[in-house]
Amino acid sequence: MIFNINKFLKYFDAIAFSYKTNFLIFIITAGMISITILSQVSIFSLKHDFDVLFEKRTKPLIELEKLKDTYKVNIYDTYYDIQQGDITYKNSKEVITLATQLINQSWTTYKRKTENKNYQPSYITTFITNLFPETSLFKVEKILERNIIRNIDKKILIISNTMSTINTLLEKDRYAQAFEHIERLNFEVKSINIYLTSLSNYDLKLAVNEKRKTEKVFNIIIIISVISIIFVFLFSIILSVLIINNFKKLHNSLEQKVALKTNELLKLNDSLEQRIKKEVKNSRKKDMIMFQQSKLASMGEMLQNIAHQWRQPLGSLTMIIQSFQTKMMHGKLTDDFVDRKVNDSLLLADSMSSTLDDFRDFFNPDKVKTKFLVQNCLEHSLELSKYLLEKEKITFSLKVKEDIQISGFYNELSHVLLNIINNSQDALLAKETNEDKLIYIVIKKVNDMAQIVMIDNGGGIPQDVMPKVFEPYYTTKYKSAGTGIGLYMSKQIIEKHMQGTITCKNIKHKLGTNNLYDCTKFIISIPLEQEEQDKHNEE
């Protein structure tokens, strides 16, 4: 048995969750419906039983009482009155006829009711009675009843005969004879009353019996319904417990799964975090390297510039130093000569020193924002790259529409400008035609921005390259020539450090000449200083 239950539980565990819930719902619904039906049916059958009891047992009792009363009051008392001489026969004749009729009517009604087939117990009662058979005296009683009824019939006949005899005697006024018969009638009435009483007793007994039976049926129905309610209740609870257990199991397994997955996720997260940290570190490193590279690249260019700017004074200085020796040889080393040469040398050394200062400033990163004129910065940048521009026969024209003061990092802007000049220069050098090599620069104020427009006729940037010019590591130059970070760094400086924008596009422009050239146009916009803006607004 236990094994079976276990088996069932296992089977139950195994079936799908939705089936379990459906099963539970089905059990509860079926239980409810059956209980409801059972209770309704029981109530109606019990009502029926009570009705039957009333109709079959109580009403006949009334009839019997009526019979008794009629015999006692109507017949016996009337005849007694006649005997006493209180009333005349004529007066009582109608009463007696009515009584006879009443007796006949009541008796037939009683007999009809007791033998009526309609008053059968309900099916449920029958079913239950059959299910729980009772050893009763019912059959014996039945015979007794029949005997009594036969006796009563006999007595009724006797009484009616006696009454008719009395009536005929009274009509013939043979009172003595009649009184004799009346005495007999009295006796008969008393005996019929005894029979009737015993019949009503019998009926009462039956009623009590049937009532007991009905009570029994009621009890059984109550027990059955209680049992079925308990059964449904228990079954529902067991099922619910099973389902809840199932829930718990499911929940636990889900929880475990979630915990497992969470763990995996956490691990993944951890490793991701580490990887991200590593990548960020790498990218920082790359940025640093990139920055260094760009710095080195521009340093290389700067060094070339310095070398050139130093070569000439250095040549002169060398010559001056040697001149002392040769003058000495020839005995021509006069005070005047020495003074002249020393002065020249000092001037040359000064110019060399200032060149160095220029470049050293260029490489010193600015720590604080300073106010400066845009054109000054641009002129300085052009000065620094003048050598290479002249060497490659590139002509540049600078157009300053108005003095614009901005606040920012002078050297960084200078770097950016140099970078773009260098790019233009490279583009111009790569050009194979014999056109003039031009760089055209305009400084102007647009809204609240200082705008530097730099245009070169280097032929423009190819369409496929255009979207990538500001990307790091993108270069069209040979590996030795470019690091590909110049424009990227420029964008970073302009956007992050100076809150400006840098864009580039290809245009057609005359550049102040009569020819139309394919040009590249770089636009750098830098917000004006706040005060400047205010002033500008006031204007």
Partner: protein, 221 residues
């Protein structure tokens, strides 16, 4: 300057083409003590004018001039104008492209800036020495020719024979009879001449038929 006699430069004129005003001035200050005349110019046009109107012995030119090129200038005067004047190039560039062009133009030297004045002077000396020497040789030939006219021509012929037959070690291997076969001279005259030369230690007899010529002995005369 150690061994070279820079005084020979004193008689020459130099054209100096350089666009850097400072360097031009200072170099002129140095060179003017060594040469007869130094013309300093900043452009090739000026240089060409100087070249046409003056006697120039050496051109010193910078390669990278303002808007022009010293090599182009040299090519112009040497190939187009056929003016063959030795030239020295100075430059701050060590570019081989310039070097190859310079070699093709048979430039005398290629001096990298900053200019080492000793190097420049030595180069000038090396360029101008053959010119001086040629002049000397021409002069000496004239002297010998003049002497041979006024003195005994037979003795001059013998001296000629001696110098023509000196081997690499300054040795003369010859007998009197061999000399007499070449030159129509009497033996006593020949012996007298050899004796004289031996006394002055110009031609010393080392062994039979072998004599050594000592050029140092000439200086002591």
């Amino acid at each position: 300057m150690k061994n070279k006699d820079l005084n020979i430069l004193q008689s020459f004129n130099i054209l100096y083409l350089e666009d850097d005003k400072n360097l031009r001035l200072h170099t002129k200050d140095v060179l003017e003590d060594f040469v007869n005349n130094i013309y300093t110019v900043g452009t090739s046009t000026e240089a060409f004018n100087v070249l046409i109107n003056n006697k120039v012995d050496v051109i010193i030119s910078d390669i990278l001039l303002e808007n022009e090129n010293g090599i182009d200038f040299l090519r112009y005067i040497k190939e187009d104008k056929n003016i063959q004047i030795p030239a020295i190039l100075t430059t701050a560039h060590t570019d081989t492209k310039y070097l190859l062009d310079a070699i093709k133009l048979k430039v005398e030297n290629y001096i990298v800036k900053p200019i080492n004045i000793k190097e420049l002077l030595n180069t000038l000396h090396d360029i101008l020495l053959p010119v001086i020497q040629q002049k000397e040789i021409a002069k000496n030939n004239n002297v010998i020719k003049t002497i041979s006219v006024v003195t005994d021509s037979k003795q001059v012929e013998v001296v000629n024979f001696i110098f023509n037959n000196l081997n690499d070690d300054n040795m003369l291997v010859a007998s009197y009879s061999e000399i007499m076969e070449e030159i129509n001279i009497s033996k006593p005259t020949l012996i007298k001449l050899f004796k004289e030369l031996a006394e002055k230690k110009i031609l010393v007899k080392v062994q039979h038929k072998t004599y050594r010529f000592d050029d140092k002995s000439l200086n002591s005369i």
